[in-house]
């Protein structure tokens, strides 16, 4: 069974969790033998930006030592042969064309999404 995970909302508790929970879940389920791909849409296309830096959070004497590394985590999925698609219009609309993005993801136009969905048994939209 092949599943496409659509991540359409970004940065949900990424500071507290130190990752994106759906990216994390996809890593874990892939490790458990699941067959998953990912589609980043909306503001989640920003997860492909390589040099995000959320380090430095502190409250009083407490310091965060393991901030989220979202570009790294997306690259890690690609390294596990998870195909990561990114909606091209969303990339351009939020102006990511001039920043360095992780290698290996596939840009896809909104008009191509229906055909993409046909390749999956299930679509999970998060």
């Amino acid at each position: 069974m092949k599943v496409l995970q659509i991540i359409n909302t970004a940065y949900r508790a990424t500071i507290e969790e130190q990752d994106d929970t759906v990216v994390w879940l996809t890593h874990a389920m892939t490790g458990a033998g699941g067959d998953f791909d990912v589609l980043l849409a909306g503001n989640a296309v920003n997860y492909t930006v390589e040099r995000q830096d959320a380090a430095g959070l502190s409250f009083g004497d407490w310091r965060q030592t393991q901030p989220p590394r979202l570009g790294h985590d997306v690259a890690g999925l690609i390294g596990k042969h998870v195909r990561v698609y990114v909606v091209d219009e969303d990339v351009r609309e939020i102006g990511l064309t001039a920043v360095t993005q992780v290698d290996g993801f596939t840009r896809i136009a909104r008009a191509e999404l229906a055909d993409l969905f046909d390749h999956y048994d299930q679509i999970w939209r998060w």
């Binding site: 508790a13 939209r125 998060w126």
Partner: protein, 139 residues
């Protein structure tokens, strides 16, 4: 799939209780499936692990002018218990797995009977054995 055939459904929940109407809607969908005797898998992720949290308690509501008994405040843990019973009564089942790490980070390790600790591997297995999977994420 015919209307009379028995289905197996997986539902993924993510919202914490008392914060979103999505939870009530999800429970209503589970109720329909339970009444039909379906085999239902629930994977509770993140805040949803608090849905079956055993230490939920009712409270009075001074704004309503009600004491605790009069207010009879709904508790999602009771909904979970009722849904599990309804599924069994109608020849189906609910296998409710709380994401274990989500439980740990919240200290939500006291759940009502019928709820078990799970992992992402359970969700993979649930989905593979189901006719379909419905994800109801937080926003």
């Amino acid at each position: 799939m015919s209307m009379s055939s028995k289905s197996t459904l997986t539902v993924v929940l993510m919202d914490a209780p008392f914060e979103s109407a999505r939870t009530t809607t999800a429970m209503r969908l589970l109720d329909i499936a339970a009444r039909r005797g379906y085999d239902i898998n629930v994977f509770a992720y993140e805040g949803a692990v608090y849905l079956p949290f055993a230490r939920q308690t009712q409270h009075p509501n001074a704004v309503h002018g009600h004491d605790t008994a009069e207010e009879n405040h709904p508790l999602p843990k009771d909904w979970v218990t009722a849904l599990i019973a309804a599924a069994e009564r109608n020849g189906g089942s609910i296998d409710w797995a709380n994401c274990g790490l989500c439980v740990d980070e919240r200290g939500a390790d006291e759940a009502v009977e019928g709820v078990r600790r799970g992992t992402p591997a359970d969700l993979v297995d649930f989905a593979a054995r189901s006719d379909n999977t419905l994800v109801i994420p937080t926003s």
